[in-house]
Amino acid sequence: MGAKGIVKKGSEMKFRWPNGAECAVSLSFEYDAESVEWGYSRNIEGAFDIGGFSPQFGVPRVLELLNKHDVKGTFFVPGWDAERYPDSIKEIAEAGHEIAAHGYTHENFSELTPRKEKDVLEKAHKILTDITGIPPRGFRAAAYGRPISAKTLSFCRDMDYIYDSSFMDDDEPYQVKIDGKFVNMIEIPWAWPLNDISFMSPPFSSGMSLVLPQRKPQWVLELWKEEFDGLYEEVGFFNLVIHPRDMGRVSRMPILEGLVSYMKRYNVWFTTYSQVADLCLKQLVER
């Protein structure tokens, strides 16, 4: 029986979570400080300095919340931001959260040459490893609405990454295929309705001229609860994408607080991305 007494269909739940949990919940945070605006426009002054909100207010608030609830998150950090805020990155890692790769200056990977792409991935990887002492194990493409290149996944695999989180074609993790062959890598897909940017992106964010309607905090919380209910009951996987630069506002943090408290009432497994990927890979071998 799933939440609210609705029988889970089972067929859609391909992986078994630890301790009989009905649903894995992974909370991801895109660190996205000024690297985003720097990457797009080489300008991080005036209203283009919004990325600075992330290390200054957003991330500390998120860390406080995660600590309070004893939940570990996964932080996707552009290398350029890590170079500028190494202490902040160290603090995240020391609190037991996962640090994952997210490009150097939040690049659009479909526009880079393979050589440049490899350089960016390796450079960002080294920066994060040097700061935390732990090599990242996964990647998420930056630049919304843009694809990755035909090479991205193999480059990630070459660096021993065990997961990617750039695709949007599923509700739950699945094994990655490269050139038609399954590899030791798990895709952890995401979706727009579970991405805070859909409801709280500032106008002209990232120099991309996005103008989206702002939604009331309570409205967003209700929508996410509705999404969670459906995924908890019928899929068993819930993956949230948060931008501390947007969510970290005083009026919005209660959304995250409300959602985490709500989910804790159910039989869920709060997990980092690499924990999910490790478990999925292990269960694929056992099959």
Partner: protein
């Protein structure tokens, strides 16, 4: 307003159609279906099986409009849709905008996509919805030549009708749809798929959308029209949203004197005698 006569004294009619566009446009315009361009695959991969289950549960038959390239990518899914009693309609090869193509280019796409679907399910498609861009007289003529008897690209009417081509009635039914009962404006989210300046669609709360759809259905029922539910499984395919579709179907079923049918039945009714 003109009255449309439905069979068996039904007051109004309802049909369900699903546009399974897949990643056709990403392939067509960018040659890349990876990363954020993969969202279209959600439809055939994840959403269609869920939709088939809902339709079965309600005893409904629907029409799935599929670009032939997407059908080739997910042939088992197409066969499953067909084997479970639903109609497969044509939607170009790669979701092309026919108005930008030459006559011979367009003709080749109709021939190719019709043949791919026919080879897959054993019968050529008879229903068509234009993928991108306006529907031209040229397209309508080619559809007639290729044995189609239904187009569903118009949005100006609440009633189906027989198509008039250059002043003459032809053996083709027009089944108009509406953006209002499409999931696209409410649930799409993300950047527009097509190249050009990035644009982003707001995302609605599922329970709010139920109110839009029920109001529109109630109004169409009142005037005796045809309620065409047009759905993009990428958008509607999430569990939270399919629950809204389920509630809408319950609402429609609870309304007396509605002919809950499918596109094929309405086409036959329009083209009778």
């Amino acid at each position: 307003m003109e009255k449309f006569k439905w069979p068996n004294k039904y007051k109004s009619a309802v049909i369900f159609t699903f546009d399974v566009d897949g990643c056709a446009e990403q392939q067509l315009y960018e040659g890349n279906t990876l990363g954020h361009n993969s969202a279209g695959d959600y439809r055939p991969k994840i959403a269609v099986p869920r939709i088939l289950n809902i339709l079965d549960r309600h005893g409904l038959k629907a029409t799935f409009i599929i670009p032939a390239w997407v059908a080739q990518r997910f042939p088992q899914r197409v066969k499953e849709i067909h084997n479970r009693g639903h109609e497969i309609g044509a939607h170009g090869y790669l979701h092309e905008n026919f108005s930008t193509l030459s006559e011979s280019e367009e003709r080749e796409i109709h021939n190719k996509s019709g043949k791919i679907i026919a080879d897959m399910i054993g019968t050529p498609p008879k229903a068509f919805r234009t993928p991108g861009g306006p529907l031209t007289t040229r397209t309508m003529k080619m559809l007639l030549e290729n044995g189609y008897d239904c187009d569903s690209s118009s949005v100006k009417n609440y009633f189906p009708s027989r198509v008039k081509l250059e002043g003459k009635e032809v053996d083709m039914a027009e089944i108009p749809f509406s953006w209002l009962t499409d999931d696209f404006p409410y649930f799409w989210g993300g950047y527009e798929d097509k190249p050009g300046p990035p644009s982003f669609m707001p995302i609605s709360a599922p329970k709010d959308v139920l109110e839009y759809w029920m109001a529109e259905f109630d109004g169409i029922h009142e005037i005796g029209g045809l309620f065409v539910y047009l759905n993009h499984p990428r958008a509607i395919g999430r569990i939270s949203r399919l629950r809204v579709l389920d509630k809408l179907i319950h609402h429609i079923k609870a309304t007396p004197s509605v002919w809950i049918t499918n596109l094929r039945e309405v086409v036959n009714w329009v083209l009778r005698e």
